[in-house]
Amino acid sequence: MTYREAVREALREALHADPRVVLIGEDVGRYGGAYACSLGLLEEFGPDRIRDTPLSENAFLGAGIGSAVAGLRPIVEIMTINFALLALDQLVNNAATLRHMSAGQLSVPLVVRMASGAGRQLAAQHSHSLEVWFAHVPGLKVLAPATVSDARHMLAAALADPDPVIICEHALLYATEGEVEPAAGFDPWRAAVRRAGDDLTIVTSGGSLPKCLAAAEQLAAEGIAAEVIDLRCLRPLDLDAVAASVATTGRLVTVDEGWRTCGLAAEITAAIAERSFGDLVAPPARVCTAEVPIPYARQLEEAALPSVAGIVAAARRLVVPATAEEAPA
């Protein structure tokens, strides 16, 4: 099935499983979702549970928070992460704070889904990867399904969580096809090794995973065995998984579609430098989006985004000099 169908199946299952689940968002009903993730759900579950909203992101996200506090299990869809900035106040100042600030009197079992990422020439107000803005905030959890199977199962795990969980779906993944693994033992809070290797560790998430796997394939042809780790959860980070891999490979490349400065890759790099300094045999590298608002023209957008070639080059730079040193003179 496709990633989009996986999201839809997950929504349908959640709506069937629990009458308290409601889907709230712009064009989720009549239109079927901007990315067609909720197509058919209005007909199946009716307008009380599939709620089209006006363009009022802060208000309906806040309504999601209030209804979660009062016992519903809302899933709020924000059309894209760029528009989530209009709801940032409710997310950061209310959703993330209420449990702690109320000394445990209130909890916000809210799930927020949003599309993220670039690659479709939608220019600077529709293309950014701002996952790390949410991952910065204590009180929020952030999931980034990179595979069809994760898209299928992460929603249920998020709904089972007593606190706000944000699910960021990279828009380029919706059309991808993949297998759905059985739900038994599913744990979205742990990183996954998507490809094993012992020369270097490539850490990534979401829409960058396919690029990293393609890069690993190319590197393999050159005799470099890259381990590809999909973080899956951006807060809390599964640093144990990254450290375990780096303990074997000694080399770390982090690939993120966000910007480099103060970004996800910066955090991974810093954390590994702190805890695995002795394991590293080369300085960690980062492959991120160029520090520009993402431009429209195809050639500019491509130049701005992490590329397979860029990942391969970064990996090669880490491995090749070291290999040369190790080789007998």
Partner: protein, 348 residues
């Protein structure tokens, strides 16, 4: 809200405010509507051919609103629009080739290919964009007007937005702020009765948008957005009010988009009959008919005007095609500016 709504509840009779119609002016309005229509039809073709990518939002059907709404502005007035803004760019005088080149990702585009269809900007022509976050341009318009007020310049800032934007906090915050600070903003709602797939009645508890002006103590007007003369007359009145009183005014033009929301939209949410009914009010049919009835236009001159519009668009496509793609090496261009030296005594 699915019936074509002529100026019945407009509270403003178009005939009472229609200026004496000079033949040359009539022809200008028609020529502008034709240019916008032919330009957008050609853009749709270019999209199908893959020459334009990303989101492309067409205003086909809404030409009378854009043309009438801009006809009442002075060249020095400022304009802020949303992402369905090809018409506004063209009507502010951005050359069709420059708009097309922008959408082709070429260096000759007004933003050197960085913005594309949704982010056309031409500051020299006082066209300030081009915003793809719904309601996102409105605070900027308030700021432009604030600067004009403080510098005692006589300009009006026209801020165009859709009915969907009325649900955003920015709409309400901006109406209040502009009224509170007495700023010369013309808030122009192009009410095409839909925000993407959500009909007006399904996103507004009180769908008479012009009435929301009352909540902020400013004038609100409504006009038939399919009638270019009515729109021009109403907008003239509104602009005069803004310029004369220095206060903001909200004007709502009821219009309709004939095509889908964007090239991605399968258009499943509205009835084909509804679209067909609105198409009978196509301003590119009704306006020429009126002009013919009034003896201001014959078939021959209509053909000439249309041919001229088509030729201008073809020329634009050719010029855009001939201009080089913006080089990827220029990716980091225009990220930071030169240090600004404050002019002595500014605002003092």
């Amino acid at each position: 809200m699915s019936e074509p709504g002529p100026a019945a509840d407009a509270g403003l009779s178009p005939s009472a405010t229609t200026p004496v119609l000079a033949p040359a002016h009539a022809r200008r309005l028609l020529a502008e509507m034709l240019l916008v229509r032919r330009f957008e039809e050609r853009a749709a073709e270019c999209y199908t051919e893959g020459r334009i990518r990303g989101f492309l939002h067409l205003g086909v059907g809404q030409e009378a609103t854009a043309v009438g709404g801009t006809a009442a502005l002075e060249p020095e007035d400022r304009l802020v629009a949303a992402y369905r803004e090809h018409a506004h760019a063209l009507l502010r005088g951005v050359p069709p080739a420059v708009v097309m080149a922008e959408m082709f990702g070429r260096s000759a585009g007004c933003c050197r290919g960085r913005g594309g269809s949704m982010h056309l900007i031409d500051a020299q022509r006082r066209f300030y964009g081009g915003y793809a976050i719904v309601g996102g341009g409105m605070p900027l318009a308030v700021g432009l007007a604030l600067a004009d007020r403080l510098e005692q310049r006589p300009h009006v800032t026209a801020c165009f937005f859709g009915d969907g934007a009325v649900a955003e906090g920015a709409f309400h915050e901006c109406l209040n702020l502009a009224a509170l600070w007495r700023l010369p903003v013309l808030f122009f709602c192009e009410n095409n009765l839909y925000a993407m797939g959500t009909a007006l009645g399904r996103h507004q508890a009180m769908p008479l948008i012009h009435r929301k002006a009352a909540g902020y103590g400013i004038e609100g007007m409504v006009v038939d957005g399919m009638d270019v003369l009515a729109v021009e007359a109403a907008t003239r009145l509104a602009v005069e009010l803004v310029r004369g009183t220095g206060m903001p005014v909200l004007i709502e033009a009821r219009t309709y988009r004939f095509r889908a929301h964007s090239m991605y939209d399968p258009d499943r949410y509205r009835d084909k009959d509804e679209v067909a009914r609105w198409k009978t009010r196509d301003p590119l049919v009704t306006f020429p008919r009126r002009l013919r009835d009034w003896g201001l236009l014959d078939d021959e001159s209509l053909r000439e005007l249309d041919a001229a519009a088509t030729a201008a668009v073809e020329q634009a496509v050719a010029e855009a095609e001939a201009s080089p793609p913006e080089p990827a090496a220029e990716l980091f261009r225009d990220l930071v500016g030169e240090p600004i030296r404050q002019p002595a005594g500014a605002l003092s």
